[in-house]
C-alpha cells in the first residue's frame, strides 16, 4: 500500500467522473444545469455492457453505450427545450427511468438479477507506454490506463481551447451569458443548446462505458452518485475546465483512498462516506466563500467610509 499505487488508482477512478463532468460543464455553459448526468451515465454503462456482450468487441460496446446515452439526452433536450418541462423534475425522472430500465432489462438480456459479469477478454484494454517508464514517479502513475482515461485527461485542455478560442466556444459563452442578446447577435441558440447537450450525451456514454467495461461487469446502481459528484466538481471549479480537472482528480483520490484504506481495516461504511462528504463540501464551499468575501468587502468599505467621514 504505497502512495504510487493509491495515486494510480486515483487517476483510474477519476477518468469516468472527468468525462461526465466535462459533459456537464458544457451543458452548464449554455445555462442548462444538467442534474440527470447520473442517469445518462447509468444508461451508458449498461448499454456498453450489452453491446460488448452481443458484438464480442469492446469498442463496439463503447459505441453502443455512447449511442444509447446520446439518444436519451436528445429526448431530455426535447423535453426541456421544446416541451418546457421543469429541468429538475425531468432530470429526476430520467434518473428514475434509467435505474428502472437497467434493473429490469438485466433480466431478459442476461437472465440474471442484480449484476452481470462479462468474460474477462472483454475488459477495456490498458495501454502500456515504454517511454513513460523512464520518468520515475509520474511515469508510473500515468502508465497502464485505458485509452478512455487518457482521453479524459486530455479533454479539459481541448475544451478549454474550444470554449475560449473558437467560434463555437464564443457562441456557447454568448448563449450562457445572455440568451436574448445571443439571439439578437444572430446566434442560433437552439442549435447551440442541442449540440452542447449532444456532446454532453456522448461524454456521459463514454464515462459510463469506461466505468463498466474497465471492470467488465454491470451491477444495479453502479454509478453510485458519480453523476452528482461530477456536478459538485464543476460547481467547485466554477465551470472552468482546467480547474475541474483538478477537482475531479481530487474525487478520484478520495475514491482510491476508500478502496485502499478499507483493506487496512478501517470501517468500510464510514470510509464510503468520504467521496460524498467531499462532494457536499464542494457544492457548498463556493457559495460560503462568496458570502464571506462579500461580507469582508462590505465591512472594509464601511470602515473606510466612516474614517473618511471623520477625517473631513
Amino acid at each position: 500500500m504505497d502512495i504510487v499505487t493509491i495515486l494510480t488508482v486515483a487517476v483510474r477512478h477519476a477518468g469516468p467522473v472527468l468525462l461526465v463532468a466535462m459533459g456537464g460543464l458544457l451543458a452548464s455553459r449554455v445555462n442548462i444545469f444538467n442534474l440527470a448526468l447520473e442517469g445518462f451515465m447509468l444508461i451508458g454503462a449498461f448499454s456498453s455492457i450489452v453491446g460488448a456482450f452481443y458484438t464480442g468487441n469492446v469498442w463496439l460496446g463503447v459505441l453502443f453505450g455512447v449511442l444509447a446515452s446520446t439518444l436519451m439526452i436528445i429526448i431530455y433536450a426535447v423535453f426541456i427545450i421544446e416541451l418546457e418541462v421543469q429541468p429538475v423534475v425531468c432530470a429526476i425522472s430520467i434518473i428514475t427511468l434509467a435505474s428502472g430500465l437497467t434493473r429490469y432489462l438485466l433480466n431478459p438480456v442476461f437472465g440474471v438479477s442484480g449484476r452481470y459479469v462479462l468474460s474477462s477478454e472483454l475488459a477495456m484494454p490498458v495501454v502500456h507506454m515504454n517511454w513513460l517508464e523512464a520518468i520515475p514517479v509520474a511515469g508510473q502513475i500515468l502508465n497502464n490506463h485505458s485509452l478512455l482515461v487518457y482521453f479524459a485527461l486530455v479533454l479539459p485542455f481541448v475544451l478549454a481551447f474550444v470554449i475560449n478560442k473558437t467560434k463555437y466556444g464564443l457562441d456557447i459563452r454568448a448563449v450562457g451569458m445572455n440568451e436574448e442578446a445571443a439571439v439578437s447577435a444572430g446566434i442560433h441558440v437552439r442549435k447551440v443548446k442541442y449540440s452542447a447537450l449532444m456532446i454532453n450525451g456522448i461524454l456521459c456514454g463514454l464515462g459510463g462505458a469506461e466505468l463498466a467495461l474497465s471492470v467488465y461487469m454491470f451491477n444495479v446502481g453502479m454509478t453510485n452518485g458519480r453523476g452528482y459528484t461530477a456536478l459538485a466538481a464543476i460547481t467547485l471549479a466554477g465551470c472552468n475546465p482546467l480547474l475541474s480537472l483538478i477537482t475531479c482528480l481530487l474525487f478520484g483520490f478520495a475514491e482510491s483512498l476508500v478502496v485502499s484504506l478499507s483493506g487496512v481495516g478501517f470501517s468500510s461504511y464510514l470510509l464510503g462516506m468520504l467521496p460524498y462528504a467531499l462532494a457536499l463540501v464542494a457544492a457548498v464551499a463556493p457559495q460560503v466563500a462568496r458570502r464571506c468575501i462579500h461580507f469582508i468587502k462590505r465591512k472594509k468599505s464601511e470602515t473606510e467610509m466612516i474614517s473618511e467621514y471623520y477625517r473631513n
Partner: protein
C-alpha cells in the same frame, strides 16, 4: 384547468403502461397476462387489498411531504436520508430507555423520530435558502451519506445485532397496529387539508409559494415561512418512518429505504399536487408494489418490471400533453 390535469395524468399512466407492456413483449412474455396478474395481486382479494393500502400509506405521507415543500420552491428529494435518520433515532431511543414504561417509550421514540427527520430535512433547505446551493445535489449527497452512516451504525455500534449473518439493528419491542396507522394517516391528511385551505398559516404558505418576492414586499417573513414548510415536510416523513418502523419492520435493515426514496415525488407529480390526485397516485404506486409480489410467484416476468413502469410513469407525468397556452388562445377571450 382541473380537467386538463386529470387527462394529463391519465394519459401519462396509460403511456407508461403501454411502454411497460412493450418491454414485456420484447422480452417474450404476454403483457396482458402480466397486467392481469398485477391487478389480481393488488386488488384481487381482501388480503391483496390490505397489502395495497399498507404500501400506499407511506407513499401518501411522502407525497404530502414533497408537495408542501415544493409549494415553497424547495425540491425535497432527501426522503431517504430523513427515513434513515428517523429510524436510527427510534432504535437508539428504544435501546437507551430499556425498562421504562411502555407509553413513555413510545412517545419518546416518536418525538425523537420526528426531530431527527426534521433535522435531516432542514439541511438541504438551509443550503438552498441560506446559500443558494442546489438543494438537489445536497439532498442526494445526504441520502448517500445517511445510507452509509446507517450501515455503519447497524454494523458496529450499540444498536447492532450481534451474531447475525447480514447486518441489522436490534429489534424494537414496541409496536403500533395497522389500523391505528391507517386512521392516523387519514386524520393527518384531513388536518393538513384543513390547515392549508382554512387557516392563516396555510394561506401564508401558499402566498409565499406563489410569489416569494410579492410576499416579501407585503411584509410576510418569507424566509421563515419557507423554512417552516421544510419543517412540516420533515415532520411528515418522520411520521412515515414511525409507521414503517413501529408498524412493520421493527428492525433497521441495510438499504431498507432505498425502495421508498423517490416514490413520494412520483405520486405528487402524478396527482398534480392536488389532494385527491396524490391519494390516487399513491394508491397506484402501492398497488404496483403489492402486485409485484404475486408477479414473481405466478409468472416468469421479474418484479423489476414494476421499477421500469414506475420510471415511465414519472417520466411521462412531467410532460403537459395538453398545453395550456394553446388552449387559452383557442378558447380565446
Amino acid at each position: 384547468m382541473r380537467n386538463r390535469k386529470v387527462i394529463n395524468s391519465v394519459l401519462a399512466i396509460m403511456i407508461a403502461f403501454i411502454m411497460g407492456g412493450l418491454m414485456v413483449l420484447l422480452s417474450g412474455d404476454s403483457p396482458l397476462e402480466t397486467y392481469s396478474v398485477l391487478l389480481k395481486g393488488s386488488f384481487g382479494s381482501l388480503n391483496a387489498l390490505k397489502n395495497t393500502i399498507r404500501y400506499s400509506i407511506p407513499v401518501v405521507l411522502l407525497a404530502y411531504s414533497f408537495s408542501v415543500c415544493n409549494q415553497c420552491g424547495y425540491f425535497n428529494i432527501s426522503h431517504e436520508s430523513q427515513m434513515y435518520s428517523a429510524s436510527l433515532a427510534i432504535v437508539m431511543v428504544s435501546e437507551l430507555t430499556q425498562g421504562w414504561p411502555s407509553w413513555l417509550r413510545l412517545i419518546l421514540m416518536m418525538a425523537a423520530a420526528c426531530m431527527a427527520s426534521i433535522a435531516a430535512c432542514m439541511i438541504p433547505a438551509a443550503a438552498k435558502f441560506g446559500l443558494g446551493v442546489s438543494e438537489v445535489v445536497v439532498g442526494v449527497m445526504m441520502n448517500y451519506l445517511m445510507a452509509y452512516l446507517t450501515k455503519h451504525m447497524i454494523a458496529f455500534s450499540f444498536i447492532a445485532q450481534p451474531g447475525s449473518s447480514s447486518i441489522m439493528s436490534l429489534p424494537v419491542s414496541e409496536s403500533v397496529g395497522a389500523v391505528s396507522i391507517t386512521v392516523s394517516t387519514v386524520v393527518i391528511i384531513l388536518l393538513y387539508q384543513f390547515v392549508m385551505k382554512k387557516t392563516i398559516p396555510g394561506y401564508r404558505l401558499s402566498v409565499v409559494g406563489r410569489n416569494p418576492l410579492f410576499a416579501n414586499a407585503s411584509g410576510l417573513p418569507s424566509m421563515r415561512i419557507m423554512l417552516s414548510s421544510a419543517v412540516v415536510g420533515g415532520l411528515l416523513t418522520g411520521i412515515c418512518a414511525i409507521g414503517e418502523m413501529l408498524g412493520y419492520y421493527h428492525i433497521i435493515y441495510s438499504d431498507f429505504a432505498v425502495d421508498i426514496g423517490f416514490n413520494g415525488m412520483t405520486a405528487a407529480l402524478l396527482g398534480a399536487q392536488n389532494a385527491i390526485g396524490m391519494l390516487l397516485g399513491s394508491l397506484l404506486l402501492g398497488a404496483l408494489k403489492s402486485g409485484s409480489v404475486l408477479l414473481t410467484v405466478v409468472t416468469s416476468v421479474p418484479a423489476e418490471l414494476v421499477d421500469c413502469v414506475k420510471g415511465f410513469v414519472m417520466f411521462f407525468a412531467t410532460v403537459t400533453f395538453i398545453r395550456s397556452d394553446v388552449w387559452m388562445r383557442k378558447g380565446g377571450k
